[in-house]
Symmetry: C2
Subunit: 460 residues, 2 copies
């Protein structure tokens, strides 16, 4: 039987539930879109708001500059030098909200419907970051102390590749020294099923530009004799996969390490329903690399996906242009031991090789991140299992994750600390799409699980 959360902590969170929600909604109202220069002031506002919330919780907090958006660093070191130190990482920036017309309620006006908190950033990652602030506050407000020292590191560039975070960690390695890292920026396997992450996919994100004529041409006067950049781009993209959805870029799979048989076996025992997944995606049918299950395809196999296409005339009606250029945003999800820079080079070489005569191609790398695989043992892992069991009333499952959190590899490498990923999102949460939501139940239980985690770690 799991140990229930200590009554004082539980009472505190219950009694303050309404205020905590109001504060979260204030945080979600700030459109902290890191990708857009017009939201620069909102990014500053979000950082200041978060620093204020950390101080209210009893942490010291500083806004520290980087080469881009600042880091908000909260600290509480009252447990003393002999206690363990935990670094919690999250991010206060969010994805762009476009296309706005597809949101049922406005992206920066949080609204609870059917037990879901709808807002851009609700689950990715403001809600999950904020529940950590509140779990700390529960300890400090009721007991004036915590069983562990905590460092809360919130960055503002996760959605644009965390370009400045590695340098920040390197520069502040002494201050950030810790025994464990904890991150909540992922999803549970299913409602009611607490989950510990065993893997993340990495990423390399590219922009491919195909340049043809000097300007858009009349497709009648020139069509047939001038190579069409949009057609050329389509041929390039079509060459990325074979007929079995196997990536056909030479060398792409060379560094892929297959999963351990034990993890694969656990994966196969999960209550996964292809048809439910298909419905969540709203897709007519599922399909992907031949000979792999859906979970293998999204957790353990690399991809090459088009994220955006733009060329020529895309407005109302018909315009007979032969476009001057065509652009694709393309990203590859990577698995251990693929390296983003190696994959970028392979894709770039492939694109140059297959581009037809008559066009120029330019490939730009926008950002990248390393794939990651966890160690599934030790005191941190055991404490997390017990804390999740206490909050959710059942043992957690071990799951993979198709998304990327580029900094996880950096934490492990630079701080020499094991990383624990326990997320409270859910399938279908629209993390990077319109109508993003976070389960309100998971937000509430997440605070309890993290409050319990500090207790468990204090006992370890």
């Amino acid at each position: 039987m799991p140990t229930p959360l200590a009554p004082d902590l539980a009472s505190y969170l219950d009694a303050n539930d309404s205020r905590i929600h109001q504060e979260l909604f204030d945080f979600l109202r700030i459109p902290s879109v890191s990708a857009r220069s017009e939201h620069r002031a909102d990014m500053t506002r979000a950082a200041e708001w978060l620093a204020g919330a950390m101080r209210s919780a009893g942490l010291s907090a500083e806004i520290l500059p980087t080469g881009g958006h600042p880091v908000v660093l909260g600290e509480w070191r009252g447990a003393g030098p002999r206690a363990k130190t935990v670094l919690i990482y999250g991010h206060y920036d969010v994805q762009p909200a476009e296309p706005l017309e597809l949101w049922t309620s406005p992206p920066f006006s949080p609204e609870v419907r059917d037990g879901r908190i709808f807002a851009r950033g609700s689950v990715d990652d403001k809600g999950q970051l904020f529940l950590h602030v509140k779990a700390i506050q529960a300890h400090l407000a009721t007991r004036g102390t915590l069983p562990v020292n905590v460092i809360l590191l919130a960055e503002g560039e996760e959605e644009v590749g965390s370009d400045n975070l590695t340098a920040f960690i390197e520069r502040n390695a002494a201050r950030l020294a810790c025994d464990y890292c904890v991150i909540s920026d992922s999803a549970m396997f299913a409602p009611g099923l607490p989950s510990i992450l065993s893997s993340l996919r990495g990423l390399t994100y590219l922009e491919i530009e195909v340049e043809g004529p000097g300007g858009d041409l009349h497709s009648g006067i020139y069509g047939g004799a001038v190579v069409n950049p949009a057609t050329a781009l389509a041929r390039i993209i079509a060459s990325f996969h074979d007929a079995h959805w196997h990536v056909a870029i030479p060398g792409f799979y060379d560094d892929v390490r297959e999963w351990e048989p034990e993890v694969l076996r656990q994966m196969k025992s999960l209550p996964f329903d292809d048809e439910r997944f298909r419905k969540e995606a709203g897709a007519p049918a599922l399909d992907g690399e031949d000979g792999r299950s859906t979970l293998e395809r999204v957790w353990s196999r690399p991809t090459c996906e088009v994220n955006g296409l733009l060329s020529g005339y895309t407005g109302e009606g018909a315009k007979t242009v032969l476009p001057a250029r065509a652009m694709a945003k393309v990203s590859c999800r990577l698995v251990p031991d693929q390296q983003p820079d190696v994959i970028t080079r392979l894709v770039t070489e492939h694109v140059r090789r297959v581009a037809p005569k008559g066009v120029r191609v330019v490939v730009r790398e926008l950002h990248g991140g390393m794939p990651w695989r966890a160690e599934l043992s030790g005191p941190l892992f055991d404490a997390a299992r017990r804390a999740l069991a206490s909050a959710f009333g059942r043992e957690p499952v071990i799951v993979g994750e198709g998304g990327s959190i580029p900094v996880v590899g950096d934490f492990q490498r630079l701080l020499h600390a094991p990383v624990l990923l326990i997320g409270f999102g859910l399938p279908g949460e629209n993390a990077h799409a319109p109508n993003e939501w976070m389960s309100d139940e998971n937000f509430v239980k997440g605070m309890r699980a993290i409050a319990a985690l500090w207790e468990e770690l204090g006992r370890a």
Copy 2:
């Protein structure tokens, strides 16, 4: 030696040159973009302006409703029932001007630079339509009469497929009855080289929509297991051609009639320079269907071109979405005896056949037009040869045209009158692109050539 233009007509056009230009510029200032509903009032304004200009020239003029933008119909029948009647066709609508940032001077603020009149619609087709109005005015103002009866039919939907014109012609066939049709909506082969058109390509313009998931998805969480509509669209487009730029849609070439050897021989004798054409296009290299010259590719061979692509995230920076949908605008240029509806069917069947599992495809036909080939003999053709020689000082050449004027086939079919296409555009005029221009010399000589044409036809 060509007969020079009668001195009274020449003097009139010389003396009024500045006023004629100012009037043309007034016409060009009206942004009569038929494709965009926000320009509806401008379309009305352009029709009214044109009717006023026809009346000033001595024609009666009416604005006649259609199912879409109205037709402006000018008439002068003073030559009497025994004289020939000529129907002149042109259009007062223009292409959208986007992308605006690529224009050196604003599209609807005409400006003359280096002997070129820059404005959207300058050459396609307002300038060429207006020179007909002025050629008629030269006759009526100096002599009070014309050797032929004239009907000036200007439509407002040429750039969106002339959807309502066929019905208009059918409905008004008695009123539009004529001996000859004359159209100036095409280009001369080269500066100083007057040209008579022997062929036009037809068109079918389609929009292909590939629908995948119900909304944009996180490319990490779903990527690999849900078919990407943008990738699917790229594969569909890539299947349109083989490696030799031969259209690979089954049945596509079945109805293509090869050109007569004599016309091909004339085509090969034209002073055509691939390198100059490449420079005009601003393309890194020319390429197209194997085994065909550039002029064959654009005049005598059908194409399948992408006019626009749109999918997913296309803004600044990186957004890792798996797009819900992907759209392509695709048009096929057609040659005799291809039929637009047959080609639409073949493309639609092909798209459905090659679309991967996991996406839905929808193909919509936006508009179409028949290809056309001229009869290169008879009184109209002979009069045109002499009139062009008189204005330009040399015999015209016989040329093809890669573009489409969908109504040409309709005139021939419904009015049983031969159609003469003499255009005064020039290569590189950017007809459907930013920085459209018309040669001022051609505008001026065009008025003279048309004034001479009525004299020649009167003698025929």
